[in-house]
Point group: C3
Chain length 245, copies 3
């Protein structure tokens, strides 16, 4: 049985890549959480490693939403991670990057892009195109697809050429100045799980599944659009001019 | 007697609009503070409401500066708001958005746009065009006038279509991560009022009033420019290239 | 003997300029630290001063890196500054702006540009062109060289025309909301000095010096590029597409 979905490639002792390869959509759930968690432990304990690039083998998707087809018990029954939080937020805290809602974003995003833009991102719950993500400070930069690999490779090699101890010390100081405290992360996760279990959410997830959620196609590609169609005011379909700029 | 200046329109039980209509300039003072405060209380206590859009019925002005023609006692004698601050900062804290100086901006703006840009905004005390406001992170986005209404309507309807409890929980977490503490807000207000009472400020306000402050016209439309002309160094009028980019 | 490198010009009692003039590169070290520190004391204690502009008399360089040719003891033996930190971070804390690594940037930059971009700036350790610096929020704005002087002059005169007490009070509130605590600054400095003393860093500094570090020329002008060439992975020279956008 080959259930491996998260792959580690060591380009050099200093520079590793972690590739998410869970066709067709890189949906993230109880099967992939332990795999990624194991790699995070390897990353944390290696003595030579300086740079890790996370990428995806799935064209058009990096890490998609959580696996809503999995039983919630499969997630909640996973043992807590090394720092004592539930496995997903625990791992994301250790990674130092909030990737999916419920893994720490409410604590992180306002510190990254400011309160107003974070509120729009959370409450609008829409897809955010690359250029807007750069303007909002969500990502460092948005690059044309043809330039992205070369840019990442050059930056990764550059960092890998520097002194590991200086890298670690610098990151530790940046953590002190910018990481949210764990006590802001833990309750987010509890509330996220509880919200998924509520009947209203279950009904909306069910409607999305009927329309093609969790399968390649327009619902996954333009998830923001389709989420906006579910419970429209007055039963009217929503116009969707938000993507425009 | 019809002194109503702040109007509440319920587009749906979930989506309300608050319209400021205090011709000719939407100047904000002791008459409008209680009206808006009352609406804020309705917003805080309604069980269905999910989205509130604040807009203006006055072309070219949203909420202008404080009413410097009103006696300061009319403001200071207003009873404290529900959370114990003076009415204006109390209301703005409850609203969650710093609209006017003295209502919390020194605590809010550096968290929104960074220390350097906030200092430029405060100390430069100039008008900030929409595009610069977006680049600085002051506003989420600057849109062409022809696109603004449609964008706001779509976003408001989109948010109104989501689960109220999920909206509330998300906002509570964002508040923890991004709202300044009340103890930073209260002293700002005291210092703001004291600064308005000082003879130097009273003299400058008097000069502005002579030139057309509080009346429709160039002083209100380009207030930043005219403020820069008041006390120029060496008695020379100031060049004003700041708006240029 | 004329060792004066930092010059104070009083354009008016309210508006001063501090000009760094240490040819050929404005390298910053034990000779210039006491000169600048003395001026900072004058700035802190003057009763009329409202605006200080820091500029450089050296074309193409503002304040360059620390003087790696100076003995480290010359720096560490300087007496602590008025607030009790080592002289360089002490002065930079009093200035309220982190200019060079080791003087507070790890505490400051994440609060200015967000965690992700600050990490890229620190770990990439590359030159940052003006336009990228503006997009990242590192600088308020990037202006064409032909417009910069006029813009700065107008903004300085504008601020100088305002009430000194209002300026001071505003800055004090902004400090509360945005300055990192001193206890984050002090250990950065110790770790910075220790990192410079390590053999790996000394070797890299030595290689740079052989190639022209501390002298006018390509190494100083494109220091980011040359730092990336020092310890390349697999002994291969690094491509350098980072500047591109």
């Amino acid at each position: 049985m080959n259930d491996k979905r998260v792959f580690l490639t060591k380009h050099s002792p200093e520079y590793w890549r972690v590739t998410l390869n869970h066709p067709p959509l890189n949906i993230f759930g109880p099967k992939t959480i332990p795999q990624l968690s194991e790699i995070i432990t390897a990353i944390e304990t290696d003595k030579d490693l300086k740079v890790v690039v996370f990428d995806s083998a799935i064209d058009g998707f990096f890490m998609t939403h959580y696996d809503f087809l999995a039983k919630i018990e499969e997630t909640t029954s996973l043992p807590p991670g090394p720092i004592g939080l539930q496995p997903l937020p625990d791992m994301l805290v250790r990674l130092g990057a909030g990737i999916v809602p419920g893994g720490g974003p409410m604590a992180r995003l306002p510190r990254l892009m400011g309160r107003g833009r974070a509120l729009e991102a959370f409450l609008g719950a829409d897809d955010i195109p690359g250029d807007l993500a750069e303007r909002y400070g969500y990502v460092n930069r948005s690059l044309p697809d043809a330039e992205l690999d070369e840019f990442v490779e050059a930056l990764a090699n550059r960092i890998a050429s520097f002194d590991k101890r200086a890298i670690s010390e610098t990151k530790r100081f940046v953590d002190v100045a910018s990481l949210p405290p764990d006590y802001e992360i833990a309750p987010e996760w509890d509330v996220c799980l509880a919200s998924i279990m509520r009947p209203a959410a279950q009904k909306r997830i069910g409607m999305l599944l009927e329309q093609g959620f969790h399968k390649p196609g327009d619902v996954e590609t333009r998830l923001g659009y389709h989420v906006g169609q579910l419970g429209s005011v007055n039963g009217q379909p929503q116009d969707h001019p938000i993507e425009r700029r």
